[in-house]
Amino acid sequence: MSKTSLSQSKGDNLPRPKINWGKLEEAEKFAEMVKLFRRGKINRDDFRRFRLQHGAYGSRMTDDYSMVRVKVPAGEVYPEQLERLALLSEGFSIGSAHVSTRQNFQLHWIALEDVSEVMRGLAEVGMTSREACGNSVRNVMCSPLAGVCTQEVFDPTPYALATAKFLLRNPMNQSLPRKFKLNFTCCEKHGMARIVDIGLIPQKIDADGKTHNGFKIFLGGGLGAQSFVGHQLEEFTSEEDLLYTIIAVIRVYDRMGNRENMARNRMRYLVNELGWEKFQNIVLKERAMVRVTQSIMVKLDLDKIPEVLGKMSISSDTPTKPEGFSRWMKSNVISQKQNGYSSVFLTLESGDVTSNQLRTMAEIAREFSAEGRARTGFLQDMVFRWVKDEDLPKLYSKLLEVGLANPGALTMASVIGCSGTTSCNLALTNSHRIAKEIQRKFLELKLDVDDDLRDATIKISGCPNSCGQHEIATIGFFGGGGRMGKEMYPLYSMSLGGRSDEQAMLGLTCMKVPAKRVIPAILKIIEIFKSDKKNGETLDSWIHRVIDNDGSNGVKSFNDIKEILKPVVVAPTIEQDKDFYVDYGNDVSYHARTGKGECAA
């Protein structure tokens, strides 16, 4: 042991993770299980189930590497956790990490033998990958704006954290028919409450001369090969009934969900098959049962102690505004309900972030955020809240240094792309890379500053499953293969008009667009929108008007859009355009290849 050591002068008053989600024993157990599996003492299926329950997916075409999904309940992540993710990503993964649409961090291409080391490293800073995959309750999400949103009724964060704490490792939900997702949101606008198994929006009512906290709860939504919008359980679910309701829904699903048919085992199919009213009745009856049979000790452990905010403004001088600052301000920063504070969104490319950038994020959380931590967002992005308005130019300069200052986070330029053929067994196309390409093109054309496009979204999945959430995009795509004679080429199905807010609806299938024509097709849609739009109309509202056959001028209906796009999507012969037959990120002709999905394990 060296007497001389690096003195770590980290302040004592820095925020530490309040909840320890990790368990070191699980890492040790995982290491043992890998050894047994390698020696043939555990069969492949049992091992896979165990592996998934602990948050490790197989990788594309190989089980020798894993994707470790790190749960971030309510998206809250602390500086030391970001630094640890950086270290783990460099040591065991590819030097970059990925922020998912469900607020997880994902570390890809980790040798199966090292997964336990990653789990150990996570547990040391209070993080876990437990139940991040497999047939379990996945990361409990909460809007990154919860607590600072101008439109929210109250901050749902304590409820999200308490729910996550109650459900993690709970014997009640260790072997569900399929995965199960909960999503707390701040308000109608910023959430995705209607596209998950249980979606919750804070609500208050006045009764008996008092104000009561509670939620609007939506059940049975979800995206996938067949997608559904959730149904509202009742007018108002009181805070006291919140946990009972969650338990009741999970119990009903556990008991009645389909365990036979892989393609029908999410709760939304159960809701669909029973019919909403019947399902609703069963849940309400179950809740009554839960209420009387559960011990009164079963309560959500809510931590509502008001937080003492950290440092105030760090800028004493009048800051100079770096180039690009106002564009970035416009598209990446939201004013909080608390006067003088802003929330800053970082534009990432398909959610990817280098280990050095993670370290910078840790510094930013410490230096600039009065709450001393960050949140993962819903859009493969990162959010720093509680930044003093006058510190924004300085923060922007810091982001510039590490390549994190791209504009566009809160605009159509923030394109979602699932991992696609970069790591997923099911993927048919490189949705991950194409999302990056679209974003680059949007920023190059400065489309992020166009207010008409601001509320529109582009989301891309590499297969008909919906990790890229394409159904709720204004312009959504999912990958497949097309054929021209003997030759195959990467091809996307495009849908238009998806929404996840109050008017949640799934996008309508429009047409097939070859991968290498996706960018021209999007630009063409914007072009016809611009020439056709009425005063004050945005791309999103224009598309809905056209869908409703209320079009004007040249574009009267959905079919007209198809007609106009037809010439854009024509497939050339391979002699005419070799590149057309090659997917993004490849140098050889496209061939659809998939492995076995791990959904069913």
Binding site: S2, K3, T4, S5, L6, A31, V34, K35, R38, S59, R60, M61, T62, Y65, L87, E90, G91, F92, S93, I94, G95, S96, H98, H108, W109, A111, E113, D114, S116, E117, L348, E349, D352, V353, T354, Q357, S419, G420, T421, T422, S423, N430, H432, R433, K436, D583, Y584, G585, N586, R593
Partner: protein, 269 residues
Amino acid sequence: MCCLSKEKIMRPTIDVDALRSEIRDKSVRVLDIRKEEDYKQSHIPDAVNLPLANLLADDSPEKVLQYAQSFGISDETPVVVYDDTFGALASRVAWTLQYIGHEDVSLLDITYGTWKKMGLETSTEKTSFDKKNHSLKLRPEILATVDYLGPAKEKGAILIDNRERLNFLENHIPGAMNIPYRMLASPDNILRPKEELKRLIQNRNIAPDAEVITYCGSVGTLSGLGYYALKSIGMENVKLYVRSFKEWKSLEKPIERQNDANYWDLSAE
């Protein structure tokens, strides 16, 4: 007086306190293998400069012997090597000295950057020492050549590729196992504590007495660190394939890769 065993206890790494006391005793030769201009700006007191590029320009045993002698290194002189590149470059030099038969070589367990951050003493003086005699006793048992790899693998030797994961996925020597060099370090030291390294090796089911050959991309630096990581946990039978993948590729030997996945597109670099 009790007679001390003549046999030296090999110490692959040395910590700051031990090195500082040996520098005070003038019982050690310290090699700084950074570039000459970096060395000139400041270095560990009494260190001599052997830029890695100079060594790589000609790393024939005769030339290395000449260097050692010119630095006043005799067969008995303990040598400590350091760099500012997470220990990989220092490892390559240390290994080369061992290969020509010098027994007592260690890596400083931190980089020069960390040394400075700790506020330890530095010097700008160029140091020189009287020439000493050193014998030449090549140690082929720590070197793997391209011709050695095939038969060794057949006998069960384990091949470890110390390049980063993405490079490994893209191409590697068939049958190799990947331990990226970054995995070997801890945040403060060029190598993790022994118990951690042992665990990483056990997780991979590598027996302590296995024959292991490390290699990397071109000149045996990253894999030099891999070599010392294994030595530090007491593995005896470790070799460095010093010409590494660069030679393997140039000889058009078979290559294995992870097919049908666009893993590079996950990188945010």
